[in-house]
């Protein structure tokens, strides 16, 4: 039925277009006419020209009279490019698409008339990547740098447009590494005899840079550093060499007894810690920060709580609280005594920083029930720290709507 509708649409719109078509223009030298007003001399003199621009075929992309899209483009940027660069259509079907590509912002990397760098790139590839990926600068300060990274050859490991693999990697897991690094006896010996090529190398090695030899991640778990693999795993020669000797919570609990016990007994468990699945968040070999996290800082939390959020372009979800506030500033990652894993009473948590506001704010607590839910008022009654659309993280406009939501008589006064 839908296909039929589109066929009808095509016929009708085609008829309309034909009916409206202006008489054909006389053939003109577009380059000469357009450049009378549009100064594109530098772009057209660039080392790598875009063929339609170089040939003076301005109307390949632009409608000289009227268009629905900015810069008088004939179609939305992105789809317009794919009309000629059809190989991109297949790439766009891959599960991981680079955000500028998904959003049709091709010109972020490729100036459409001409550029000085291969691939019609505006700047050298590494510089381009760094212009969005700020973390690159920190990596560049580190002592040990992976050779492709040091040479700015991001595309050795990453696909610039889209990939079937997470992080736009060219291959999955360790296969992106074994393309260059040979797996031989020496390699195995360095890894305690374990067939680590079956695992993802990036879990222990930082593929960009590190201050540690062998590009090891910044914080190394003591048993791992000592090469005591057998503390947790079967022998490297075993049929299942990575098998754990006992459940995670027992293995981790041998040293971190208090944390594991608190996690298992927490009235409000963190879903991953609730069963002692420590490695959901922590890397038992080498990780980030003192806590050996799988990812840096809040990225560990957002990997589950906002998957793809950072690149979804959707505003308003998990807006981060301003200032140096991390998820763990308010929430207890191993579980806690309160819903939403609040580390302490919510008013207390907020009041630790908002001391002044705490003193003068709306009455809160057991003595002041929210008339909408009959629950005690707390900061969250008016403020939504993660996704509030109004200033001061308010749920509604504080000029009227926020107050009238509870104080319904206010709106009727004076009538």
């Amino acid at each position: 039925m839908n296909a039929m509708r589109w066929i009808v649409a095509g016929v009708v719109l085609g008829a309309a277009a034909a009916a409206a078509e202006l008489p054909p223009a006389q053939a003109v030298d577009q380059r000469e006419v357009c450049l009378q007003c549009h100064d594109l001399a530098d772009a057209l003199a660039a080392r790598v020209p875009h063929p339609p621009a170089a040939r003076g075929e301005c109307t390949s992309c632009h409608n000289p009279h009227v268009a629905r899209f900015e810069k008088l483009l004939r179609a939305q940027p992105g789809p317009l490019c794919v009309k000629c660069h059809q190989e991109l259509a297949a790439e766009l079907a891959r599960p991981e698409v680079h955000a500028p590509v998904a959003e049709g912002r091709c010109a972020t990397c490729h100036p459409p008339h001409g550029a000085d760098h291969a691939g019609l790139l505006a700047r050298p590839a590494a510089e381009l990547c760094r212009s969005c990926h700020g973390e690159v600068e920190a990596w560049q300060q580190r002592q040990v740098r992976h050779e492709p990274f040091a040479r700015g050859r991001c595309a050795v490991c990453h696909e610039p447009h889209a990939s079937a693999n997470a992080r736009l990697l060219k291959a999955e897991g360790s296969r992106v590494c074994t393309g260059c690094h040979t797996i031989d006896d020496a390699f195995r010996q360095r890894h305690g005899g374990y067939p680590v090529e079956r695992a993802a190398c990036q879990t222990c090695h930082d593929p960009h840079a590190s201050s540690r030899k062998g590009l090891m991640r910044e914080t190394v778990h003591a048993p791992f550093a000592q090469g005591a693999c057998g503390t947790c795993h079967a022998a490297g020669s075993a049929a299942e060499p990575f098998a754990l000797l006992k459940p995670q919570r027992e293995l981790c609990g041998d040293c971190h007894a208090a944390e594991v016990a608190a996690s298992l007994a927490a009235p409000f468990p963190h879903v991953s810690a609730g069963g002692g699945e420590c490695t959901d968040c922590h890397n038992p070999h080498a990780g980030e920060g003192e806590a050996l996290l799988q990812r840096e800082g809040d990225a560990t939390c957002l990997a589950c709580h906002d998957p793809g959020g950072a690149s979804s372009g959707q505003p308003g979800r998990h807006v981060t609280h301003t200032g140096d506030v991390a998820c763990a500033s308010c929430h207890a990652p191993h579980g806690g005594e309160r819903p939403l894993l609040f580390a302490r009473d919510q008013v207390e948590v907020c009041g630790e920083c908002h001391e002044h506001q705490h003193g003068i704010t709306h009455p809160l607590g057991e003595s002041t029930l929210d008339p909408r839910s009959s629950n005690p008022m707390d900061c969250g009654s008016c403020h939504g720290i993660h996704f509030a659309p109004y200033p001061k993280y308010m749920h509604a406009s504080e000029s009227r709507d926020l107050c009238v939501g509870c104080h319904k008589d206010i709106g009727r006064r004076g009538q």
Partner: protein, 304 residues
């Protein structure tokens, strides 16, 4: 079209616009939207002396009685229907913080945090609490009662789904991901919710997977199923904690409707947890963020 070319330009433009408008009207697809399938029928709250604050699980004994496990002060609050509303009948102290609840046809069973045991509460016989031991080292999570009096218990420590029948304990299957809710399918099988995958899965008696459905996201927010209630051979109701709503899937896993949304007012939910369907058809939802239980009547099916 040829005739048009002989007309003056403004006339041609008008005809073109008219054709366009007709075409758009002919082509515009009928607006398909998920039905709003729930209407709020009651807000259930505790009393001043025994307020309901942090509901974590619900279980129903009949169409006229249900219990809510409240993690605030670790209690099981038993409510009884009085006309169109619900009244707190009894508050029963639990030996530890509850995490899940079920009713096996005779008694309420409550999983407790940090305990390898269940609290067994016979509300009809005065509400005394008896402890039912689980195998050592089990960390009980979600629960579901199966027809015939068996009980499914998710062991979060080992990833095993245990079946308790009388004094016997059998392992139904192992699931590597974290199970956030369980429900009987009304026959021999059961439904499992996997929060972080935003999925629900149906298994038969021997643990063979019969269906695996992705719960539709609420815009950019992936669904986080935190409660399940199944109609025999019909719809599956999924409580989407992060979407603050109930999602209904038809017997083929297609979206059949949604109900409620985020908010504080009666009829709206805030990070809900715990869903149960009464024999009479109403849905009860543990509205954790608002510290209450809400009752909803189901009003619709698949619609345009």
């Amino acid at each position: 079209m040829l005739a048009l070319t002989s007309r003056p330009w403004p006339a041609r433009a008008l005809v073109a616009v008219a054709i366009c408008l007709w075409g758009v009207a002919a082509v515009a697809p009928a607006q398909v939207q998920a039905n709003r399938i729930l209407t709020s029928s009651a807000v259930v709250d505790g009393t001043k002396e025994e307020p309901l604050r942090w509901p974590v699980a619900l279980a129903a004994a009949s169409d006229d009685e249900f219990a809510v496990a409240d993690a605030w002060k670790s209690r099981l609050l038993v409510f009884r229907r009085v006309g169109a509303s619900w009244s707190l009948e009894r508050a029963i102290a639990l030996p530890a913080t509850p995490v899940a609840a079920a009713h096996d046809g005779r008694r309420y069973l409550v999983a407790l945090r940090g305990r390898d045991e269940l609290a067994v509460v016979d509300a009809a016989a005065g509400g005394g609490v008896v402890r039912r031991a689980l195998p050592k080292s089990v960390v009980p999570g979600a629960l579901a009662a199966l027809p015939g009096g068996a009980l499914l218990v998710w062991d979060a420590a080992s990833g095993r789904l245990l079946e308790l029948r009388g004094d016997e304990v059998a392992v139904r299957q192992t699931i590597d991901e974290t199970v956030t809710a369980l429900a009987s399918d009304g026959a021999d099988g059961y439904w499992v919710a996997i929060g972080e995958a935003g999925e629900v899965r149906r298994y038969d008696r021997v643990g063979r997977e019969l269906a695996r459905w992705r719960v539709p996201a609420d815009g950019p927010v992936p669904a986080w199923p935190a409660g399940l209630a199944a109609e025999v051979g019909g719809r599956l109701f999924v409580l989407d904690r992060h979407g603050h709503r109930v999602v209904a899937l038809d017997s083929d896993g297609r979206l059949a409707g949604v109900g409620s949304g985020r908010g504080w007012e009666p009829g709206l939910l805030m990070l809900p947890k715990g869903l149960v369907r009464l024999a009479g058809g109403d849905l009860l939802v543990g509205d954790q963020g608002n510290g209450r239980v809400q009752s909803f009547a189901i009003v619709g099916g698949i619609g345009r």
